[in-house]
Symmetry: C2
Subunit: 158 residues, 2 copies
DNA sequence: TATTGTTATACTCTATAACTATA
DNA sequence: TATAGTTATAGAGTATAACAATA
C-alpha cells in the first residue's frame, strides 16, 4: 500500500490510509521503530512503576551487576550514551543507595562501579519485571520471529 | 553471570558476553528496540540538523499535510501522543510559521490544523531528508527483510 | 595531549493536573 | 457529563561546553 499510484485505486488508498491513520508514513521504517519504541517504553514504565526504575537505570544496574568494577565510560560505550548522560543515571542510582563509586586502583581517572546490597536486591526484582515485560512483548511473535527481529535490530544499532 | 550455568561453558559465555559488551542483556528484545531507536534517533537528528526539525515535528507536519484540517486530538491518537505533548509540538511548528490553527466550523472544541506555504515548503524538504534517512536505515536489509521488520514492529505498536 | 569524570546548562519528549470552552 | 484545547509543572533522556584530575 505505498506509492506507485493506480488512479483507479486512489479512493481505496485514501480510505485505507485513513483507516491506518498514518497514511504514507506507514511505509517509513523509522516511523515504525519510533512508535514501537514508544509502546515498549510505556509498557516498561507501567511494569516498573512500583520499583520506580527507568529503562536506562535498569540497564546500568544490570551491567554493573554483571561486570562489577566497570567504569562509567564503559557503560556509556555499551549503552550508546554520552559521558554526561551516564553521569545523571549513575548519580540517581547512587543517590538511591543502589550503587557506589570507588576510584580505580589501576587508573586514577576511572571510577569503578559496584552494586550495594540494596542494589543487588533491586536487580533481582528488576530481572523478574524484565521477564514479565519481555513475555508481554514477545507474546506476539514466534520464537523464530523474535530471534529474527533481535538480529535485525542489532544490525541497526551495531 | 549466574543463571543456569554449565560450568564447562562459563568462561566461553563470559568471553562472548564481554565481546558483545552487553552480556545477558543481549537476549532482551526490549533492549534491542531501545538501542535501535537510539541509533535511528541520532541519525535522524543529524539528517535534520539543517532543517532544525525533530522526528515528532516532521510526523506532525507530514500528517497535517496529508490531512488538512485534522484536529490535535487526532494527531495525538495517530502518533500515540498525549494532548499536552501534541500541544507543545504544534506550538513550536506554529511559532515557526509552518502551521496555523483555525477553529473548526462543525465542532467549536476542535482546532483545524493547516500548513502555511512555508510549512508546505518545509514538508517538501523534510520528505527529501526522510528519503535519505530511510535509505541509510534500509541499506542493511533486503526488501523482504525491511517489509518483515515493518510488519513485526507494527504488531508491537498497534 | 588524551582520557575520565564532573558540573552547568539547555532542549525535547513525555505525562499529569487543573482550568476553560464547547458539545 | 464528556470532549478538545490550553496552561503550568515536572521528570527523564540527550547533548554540548568547560573544567579538574590523571595518564
Amino acid at each position: 500500500m505505498k506509492v506507485l499510484a493506480e488512479p483507479a485505486l486512489t479512493e481505496d488508498k485514501a480510505a485505507a490510509a485513513k483507516a491506518a491513520g498514518i497514511g504514507a508514513l506507514d511505509g517509513i521504517l523509522g516511523f515504525h521503530i519510533r512508535l514501537a519504541h514508544g509502546a515498549v517504553y510505556r509498557h516498561f514504565t507501567e511494569t516498573f512503576a512500583e520499583l520506580e526504575l527507568t529503562q536506562k537505570q535498569v540497564s546500568v544496574l544490570w551491567l554493573v551487576g554483571e561486570d562489577p568494577g566497570v567504569a562509567q565510560i564503559e557503560l556509556g560505550n555499551r549503552l550508546r550514551m554520552d559521558r554526561a548522560t551516564t553521569m545523571t543515571i549513575v548519580n540517581r542510582l547512587q543517590a538511591r543507595g543502589y550503587m557506589k563509586r570507588e576510584r580505580s586502583a589501576s587508573d586514577g581517572r576511572r571510577q569503578a562501579l559496584h552494586l550495594t546490597p540494596a542494589g543487588e536486591a533491586a536487580l533481582v526484582q528488576a530481572k523478574a519485571c524484565i521477564a514479565a515485560h519481555e513475555a508481554w512483548l514477545k507474546s506476539r511473535f514466534t520464537a523464530e520471529e523474535a530471534e529474527k527481529l533481535v538480529e535485525m535490530l542489532a544490525r541497526i544499532h551495531e
